[in-house]
Symmetry: C2
Subunit: 359 residues, 2 copies
Amino acid sequence: MRVFNFSAGPAVLPETVLERAAAEMLDWRGTGMSVMEMSHRGKEFIGIAAKAEADLRTLLAIPADYKVLFLQGGAIGENAIVPMNLVGGHKVADYINTGEWSKKSIKEAKKYCTVNVAASSEDLDFTYVPPQSAWKLSDDPAFVHVCTNETIGGVEYQWTPDIGRIPLVADMSSHLLSRVIDVSKYGVIYGGAQKNAGPAGLTLVIVRGDLLDRALPITPSAFHWKEQAAADSMVNTPPTYAIYIAGLVFEWLLAQGGVAAIEQRNIAKAKMLYDYLDATRFYTSPARKADRSRMNVRFHLHDESLNEAFLKGAKAAGMDQLKGHRVVGGMRASIYNAMPIEGVRTLVEYMKAFEQRHG
Amino acid sequence: MRVFNFSAGPAVLPETVLERAAAEMLDWRGTGMSVMEMSHRGKEFIGIAAKAEADLRTLLAIPADYKVLFLQGGAIGENAIVPMNLVGGHKVADYINTGEWSKKSIKEAKKYCTVNVAASSEDLDFTYVPPQSAWKLSDDPAFVHVCTNETIGGVEYQWTPDIGRIPLVADMSSHLLSRVIDVSKYGVIYGGAQKNAGPAGLTLVIVRGDLLDRALPITPSAFHWKEQAAADSMVNTPPTYAIYIAGLVFEWLLAQGGVAAIEQRNIAKAKMLYDYLDATRFYTSPARKADRSRMNVRFHLHDESLNEAFLKGAKAAGMDQLKGHRVVGGMRASIYNAMPIEGVRTLVEYMKAFEQRHG
């Protein structure tokens, strides 16, 4: 029996995607081989990768002058790869610090350039997104980096920064494909796939074509955006099976009505949970209302000595992975695209019953 | 129906591994989730990764003072990551150039240090391995790098270099786990998994513990061996599903009798094919006999105008991916661990019949 899996990532995938992957495991469409066994240079896999890219372009309405790359190393790898590819000719990069993932990005960037933290919400334990009016940008930064959804802190940009001609770089790992975005407002969008797009081991990078000439000479070929763009992400052997699964997820998302449709369902799911959190004092939710994440809903039991009982009862009721990240404690319900609204309803009902029993 | 898949990588996997992966796709051992959906921090996945590492240690008899890392980026990524992690405190690294994969390694290394090509077989189109007596090592190299099986050229070290206290670094991508090796003779062994170990998207690194203090400050955390060793390869989210599949392959290999047993079968498979190539003049095999690869058997039709007919007939007879790499042309039969001897027998019989028809 399948559980409701609230893991922050790797995370729940659509059941139909898993069923199709299982059915095709030994023989993909009469080729006599698994996708896992296919040469990445063969026409079958090239077709799978091209279809995945085309569907991703459709889903996000990616303009033609942007390249889509399927890389490896995850967001933490990309945290280093971004400055390697972008600081050439510049000395400083600006970072907005909204929590644990921003901090990781800053740590890596310092290896390659001077980092100016242009704004931070550390003063209030990263429970909000600093408004753009509070940003103190450098004179000529190579780029401005934001993490548009902080998976651990549970805060999300509900607006798009507007910084003119300076390239805006966004780590969107944990909310990419969950809401409509205007790609043209960004220089680079990147993210690990293991939230809304597929399995761990695949990194999505969307980069505007005119930014491909800024790489430092130390950039490894496997992570060199311009070289990868010229080679259709096949400078090295790509993570073929992860790309195939991501492609199945993209097909599923298109069948759901695309990103605009799933966004409405994500709004409804988040509202159901936050409405209850706002109505109770048994649980608290630390993020500022305007900046709450639709994907990663943080909450704490008012009486934290009940945490273990809460998690144990949830597991018995078919809900898993609700424990909050060790850095912030408490609980976290990650409700990505593939989490059905029944999962959220089951959680809220369980939370209410738990409150009645222990409140 | 399954075909005999002679792809050089990604490559054939054991059918029982694929069957088990398919059966467990929606619910791994009663957890109610796919391995693809599991948090890498949960006890289930930590158990899967620990078992994979333990089985790999058993298979290769890896000494306790060596770390095993499950990383991303493939061998081409690792070509840059190796010098990043090893040249600290040194200026020069020595490389033995035996073909296309050595050249890729050299290209990346030049970004981080001075490369001394201590020996090369380019004079004879990379058809042999330069004997150690011909190597001209630097005075104090950070390490000596070899590619012990050239997937494209089809040559393989049938001996282990002995260079004293200088760390020996080996790209073993395409023959790791195909033959018994003495890990203690190497400082670092690395390879992409997509030949004998699993799917693309997973890089195996085996590194002696005393070599972990040499990283350059520019090394990204996701590729920093010491940080990854301290974090059980979880500085970033590892390629969880690829690790799971590799673990299933390791279990399969143990059930086959381990590396010593599979090596005997690999010797028999290669002998069957090379014996025929030595007995015919219709096909030629460019690699020097003593240095022939057991994994990647290169051959050319004497009359190359028959290439297309050869490939078409092979496909019709249930054999795929026999076309040689574009750099060297001709044919290549990659006969990794998971290729059954029936596949090789079928190929040889087809080659004989083709010769009779066209010879």
